[in-house]
């Protein structure tokens, strides 16, 4: 019973049947009463007709009248009777008017009337026969009404089918699979009840299509991103084979090993990219300043190597709902980038501040920065700044962006407000967890 159509049809059919049964019963009782009244009227008419006629009452039955429905007449207090009907046994004591009497084991409906000559007549009919007639006419009325019910059912079925036609059309549209993304549903001529639902579905389809598009582009870019390191590995392997002497052989084997490490790191990043978006959604609440401190501590040797002044300007306690590994990846990538691009002896400031229900993780460096026309696109996967010689595959910022978005935050890149128009300021803003 999961079909709305079937459910609707069965419910309506039940209601119609119940309403039909109730009104059928009502009609039956009403028609029955009417028929009884009609027959009483008939007895009264016959009575008054006979009362106007002098002489012994005589009703000769015609052949085509149902013998049970026949009216009998008798004169009270007379030995002679028109026939040997039980009416003759009615006592003379009885008052004028309509009575229901038991006569010789049968129930009768009788009218007693005093004629002008003071003789009294009685007109009657057995109740059984009257009931039969009344029931017959009542049943006829109910039957013709009941015949309407199947017609109604068919009509209800047709109306339901017609009303559901837009839904069947939508199903067909959804099933028409185009490249794995369902096409958007037509939003014209929709019932008002369905419109918000369809519009919501269209928005969902739009989001899925966008997501799918991004994933496809990412996979294509990933394949491209892997080409260069693999080309390097191929050439390095060939070089190793061609090494003219032992010293060269060792040097070239080392180069190949470095190449393998770099390719492995690229693969890790690709996996991070796919994995952390899911991981960032966490039920765990952590203090991101603790994670930031320990991750920055791990990067200190790198900073010392380049004599970069790396340190915290501020580290507020900031409870955020995020997976610790995911936030550590954010810190690693952003601080790692700053350290990679900043000049020798440069400066990298890290800060975590809490304000207005949000935690802000801030990294500022005095390195070359990113030209303003590239800031918009730099977070896209495999995009690298064009003004500097690249180190990586251009995945770091993209990974950070994905994690931050999944955790409900924002990633912003800009120029530090130090008035020097140089360097880069990266802001990650995350919603604070409810205490």
């Amino acid at each position: 019973m999961s079909s709305l159509r079937t459910r609707l049809f069965l419910a309506l059919a039940a209601v119609v049947t119940l309403a039909g049964a109730v009104s059928g019963l009502a009609i039956y009782w009403w028609m029955y009463g009417e028929a009884i009244e009609l027959q009483d009227g008939l007895i009264v008419q016959v009575g008054s007709f006979l009362a106007e006629r002098p002489g012994p009452p005589d009703l000769t039955p015609s052949q085509d009248v149902d013998s049970d429905a026949r009216l009998s007449v008798a004169e009270l207090g007379q030995a002679r009777s028109v026939d040997l009907s039980p009416l003759a046994s009615v006592s003379n004591e009885i008052a004028d008017g309509l009575h229901t009497l038991d006569l010789q084991g049968k129930t009768w409906r009788v009218l007693v009337q005093t004629r002008r000559d003071a003789s009294r007549i009685v007109v009657g009919q057995p109740i059984e026969a009257r009931d039969e007639v009344a029931r017959g006419s009542a049943i006829h009325a109910v039957a013709s009404f009941a015949a309407l019910i199947p017609c109604l059912m068919v009509l209800i079925g047709l109306v339901i089918r017609y009303s559901f036609r837009p839904v069947s059309g939508l199903t067909e549209t959804l099933d028409r699979d185009r490249d794995g993304v369902p096409s958007r549903l037509p939003d014209k001529d929709l019932p008002d009840e369905l419109r918000p639902f369809i519009l919501a579905i269209n928005r969902l389809i739009g989001r899925i299509a966008d997501q799918l598009d991004r994933e496809r582009r990412f996979i294509a870019d990933a394949a491209h991103g892997l080409r260069t390191p693999i080309a390097a590995l191929t050439v390095q392997a060939q070089n190793l084979e061609n090494a003219p002497n032992e010293a060269d052989r060792i040097r070239r084997a080392n180069e190949l090993r470095t190449g393998l490490r770099r390719t492995a790191r690229l693969l890790d990043q690709l996996l991070d990219h796919a994995r952390y978006a899911a991981l960032a959604n966490s039920s765990e609440t952590v203090d991101i300043s603790t994670i930031a401190k320990s991750t920055v501590a791990e990067l200190l040797p790198l900073a010392e190597e380049k004599a970069v002044d790396l340190g915290f300007a501020r580290a507020d306690k900031a409870p955020v709902r995020i997976a610790p590994a995911a936030f550590a990846t954010i810190v690693q990538n952003l601080v790692g980038n700053a350290l990679a691009y900043v000049h020798e002896g440069g400066r990298v400031d890290v800060a975590i501040a809490v304000a207005d229900g949000r935690a802000t993780f801030l990294i500022e460096d005095d390195g070359p920065g990113i030209p303003s026309d590239e800031i918009q696109t730099i977070v896209e996967p495999f995009k690298r700044g064009t003004s500097t010689i690249g180190h990586g595959a251009g995945l770091g910022l993209s990974i950070v962006d994905r994690i931050v978005h999944t955790a409900g935050g924002r990633l912003d890149l800009g120029i530090p407000p130090n008035g020097k128009q140089c360097g880069l300021r990266v802001t990650v803003s995350l919603p604070l967890a409810n205490p």
Binding site: H224, R227, T228, P229, A231, T234, Q238, T258, I389, G390
Partner: protein, 219 residues
């Protein structure tokens, strides 16, 4: 034969640099588009290997620049872009060949030889002058059909002469063609290698034109 290698990826650039030097080419390796344009204006390269995704100046723009330069520089595009449209754009802009990463070193070298061959006089893969011939693919020289083993420098020198037979080349022109930027050149090394070639191939193969330089005869 001096090659301009334009590749921004340090690892791939380094590896190709080594592979080309193994194949006895003189290599200048630059890592961005502007450096490539600058290098090509200073030095007369035999061939350029050009990556497309370059910092500072896009590879296609570098290619356009090469095309309007005085002497056409043969270019092989070496890139990760494998779409047919990319190839068409590259070839239409005047690239002589298009190689998609990753590639085998042997294929790169074979394509380079093919482009250089087309650039030179004939369609024959084997360079020759008189009784001397040289197969750049196998690096085997023959004199009267007798194979002769050459050192790398000797091979580079002989190839330089045989690619432009009948042209007199000065010492600096020869040095420019067989040594890269960061290779140290001793003052008499060209004469030294020419002498050893003469010993192996016969004294008449390389002629000295006094005051001008050296040449091999066009036959």
């Amino acid at each position: 034969m001096r090659i301009l290698l334009v590749e921004d990826d340090a690892m791939l650039g380094g590896a190709v640099d080594t592979a080309l030097k193994d194949a006895v080419y003189a290599v200048d390796w630059v890592r961005d588009g502007e450096a490539a344009v600058e290098a090509a204006t200073c030095v007369d390269y035999a061939l350029a290997l050009l990556d497309l995704g370059l910092p500072k100046r896009d590879g296609l723009s570098v290619l356009k620049h090469f095309r309007v330069a005085r002497r056409p520089l043969p270019v092989i595009i070496v890139t990760a872009q494998d779409a047919v449209e990319d190839r068409i754009v590259g070839l239409d802009l005047g690239a002589d060949d298009y190689l998609v990463k990753p590639f085998e070193v042997q294929e790169l070298l074979a394509r380079m030889r093919a482009v250089l061959r087309r650039q030179g006089s004939g369609a024959s893969a084997v360079l020759s002058s008189g009784a001397v011939s040289l197969d750049p693919a196998t690096r085997v020289a023959t004199v009267h059909d007798v194979p002769v083993r050459l050192t790398s420098r000797e091979f580079a020198l002989l190839r330089t002469f045989l690619t432009r037979p009948g042209v007199v080349m000065s010492r600096s022109e020869i040095e420019e063609r067989i040594y890269g930027w960061n290779e140290e050149v001793e003052s008499n090394s060209v004469e030294f290698h020419i002498n050893s070639l003469r010993k192996k191939l016969g004294p008449a193969v390389i002629r000295n034109i006094r005051g001008m330089g050296w040449m091999v005869e066009r036959t």
